[in-house]
Assembly symmetry: C2
Amino acid sequence: MTSTRATLQQVAERAGVSLASTSRALHGTGASKAMVERVRAAAAELGYSPDAVGRSLRMKKTFQIAFAVADIGNPVYVEMMRAIHGVLAPHGYRVVVMTTGDTTGSTADLVRSLNSGFVDGMVISPLRTDDRLIQEIQQAAVPVVVIGRALGDHGISSVSTDSAGGIGAAVRHLHAIGRRRVGFLNGPLDTTPGEARQRGFDAAVRAEGFAAERIEVEIAGDFTVAAGLEAARRLFARAPDGAGQLDAVVAANDLLAIGVIHAARELGLSVPQDVAVTGMDDIEIGRVFHPSLTSVSLGSTERGRAAAQLMLRLTEDPGQQAQQVAVGPALIVRKSTDGGAR
Amino acid sequence: MTSTRATLQQVAERAGVSLASTSRALHGTGASKAMVERVRAAAAELGYSPDAVGRSLRMKKTFQIAFAVADIGNPVYVEMMRAIHGVLAPHGYRVVVMTTGDTTGSTADLVRSLNSGFVDGMVISPLRTDDRLIQEIQQAAVPVVVIGRALGDHGISSVSTDSAGGIGAAVRHLHAIGRRRVGFLNGPLDTTPGEARQRGFDAAVRAEGFAAERIEVEIAGDFTVAAGLEAARRLFARAPDGAGQLDAVVAANDLLAIGVIHAARELGLSVPQDVAVTGMDDIEIGRVFHPSLTSVSLGSTERGRAAAQLMLRLTEDPGQQAQQVAVGPALIVRKSTDGGAR
DNA sequence: CGTTCGGCTGGAATCGTTTCCAAAAGTGTG
DNA sequence: CACACTTTTGGAAACGATTCCAGCCGAACG
């Protein structure tokens, strides 16, 4: 542990010049060749490095961006974080990770805490979005970018995706490979993704040309593997009402899908032969899972990157208008639905 | 976007009292009942919330702790981060995530950057530890806690585990279930975990009472699934030199183990019947993987928590001596080795 | 040679907070 | 009523940096 860090004042004294000149010399703005050299030398001797806090106070800029999510355990958020970090770090920003509980109230509180000015902006991916949260975002002292729901109507910058359409693609895929008894395992309906995916599913199965022998819907407590396993057991346990056992399950995300596959195995059902399973989010582990997981990619990396770029623009020019970015879904077929014709 | 945030000065004027009194009133220290009430009211009317930067400058404390890892994509680090966050957040600390590349040089640079004083401390889990890094840590301006290697000799606080012993437990387990042709898939040997695990493996197979027909070692490029898959292919491809095909593989971590299982499947080998596989770290996905993964837990959560608690102690009393914590490994047997007698 | 202009430099203000110190106000006792 | 003593209050000084502003100097030009 060194005695104490060197301050600009000390560098100035050592170089025998004024504080102002020292600052300028180190920034290379409007200082003579000789001055720069002299100050650089003094700074090097003292091992000076500028204090981030002092600089932040004066410049009214912290070079920190917050990334807030309900649960950092979800690989989707980790992917987003990597992407965000990848965009921001080269511009000199640090990323502060914040975990909101999954209640909308605590999320709103978190947004409110932005008023204490410890970051220059916040990227947030809330599970639920209510009026209070929207209002807090609108009143926030720093730019906020939302990943999830499109909030352009409220003058909020957001990066959205068409998860409803994505679920539709999954449903059509299953139909195309001949599955007719399809279950849908969704997460809580009062969440943004839960609501959208339900809408997508309902629309798809009601669409023209969709022939079904059986449709079942089950809701998991949250978007985790454990909740998915539990809910999937219930789903499979439903007594076939005349029609046969389900031959396909659409899961609202990959973690739930993994739970579904687990539950299927418990019952001796093989995937994809007996039951085809689709997930959503295209998390990395799905690719190496057995069977590898058919999934609808919502471009987590792309969304994270887009959000970070939006943020960059907003922090550099705070007068900027709110902007919207939409990332399209893409179905990626793998083994969990690719059993050929039965 | 509100016009501009209220400052303490403005609250003071509104309440008609001095700046000093205002500050005291809001902290509840040495202010009269009436004063507190008056100031509170003014603050509420203005929607005042204290500026984190101003406060940091004055108090020489940022209430931020950095967590630095090579790659946040590894679930182990995510688990640690959750644990660290869980300990620190209740004490009012924010967690800043930093990604070092996996080179030791950039890690040292990161530690050096602590001199700019944007955090009160740093928890770091470096893949490699060389002299320069150790030196930077020793000279760092704020407390540093290392998760990984025990560095008590260098006067550095660290949380370590016995991964060598953990590998030993895995090897003994495989031996106990009758496997005699065992492969070891390790990560780079110049990393801290790579070196320790190699040592553990070598010691275990040389131990008294260990009977082997065949031993093979292969090194993956890094600790990821992709690298594991590739290296595992090489491992399995080695021509059996008289002895039969491998019937067990010890992987240096769970991601590599997943790669091994994948490679085995490609060859039509079934796990665990043909090849038993063990991993290390006990990541969450291993529990729901198929087959579920036998793994040596190194207590990621526990280590993260311990590191955070150490950090807490160090920041609150900087004169504190460096401390060491060791977390023991624990073998958790699941299906990937539990095929019964063949 | 005097003037103007441009580039460098140093003094001082500023960002928002906490806290030291001295002064003022209140309290109780002799 | 004076005194000692304890709260309570306000002024001012930090913390470490950037930047406005005015002054200084030398060069160029008429």
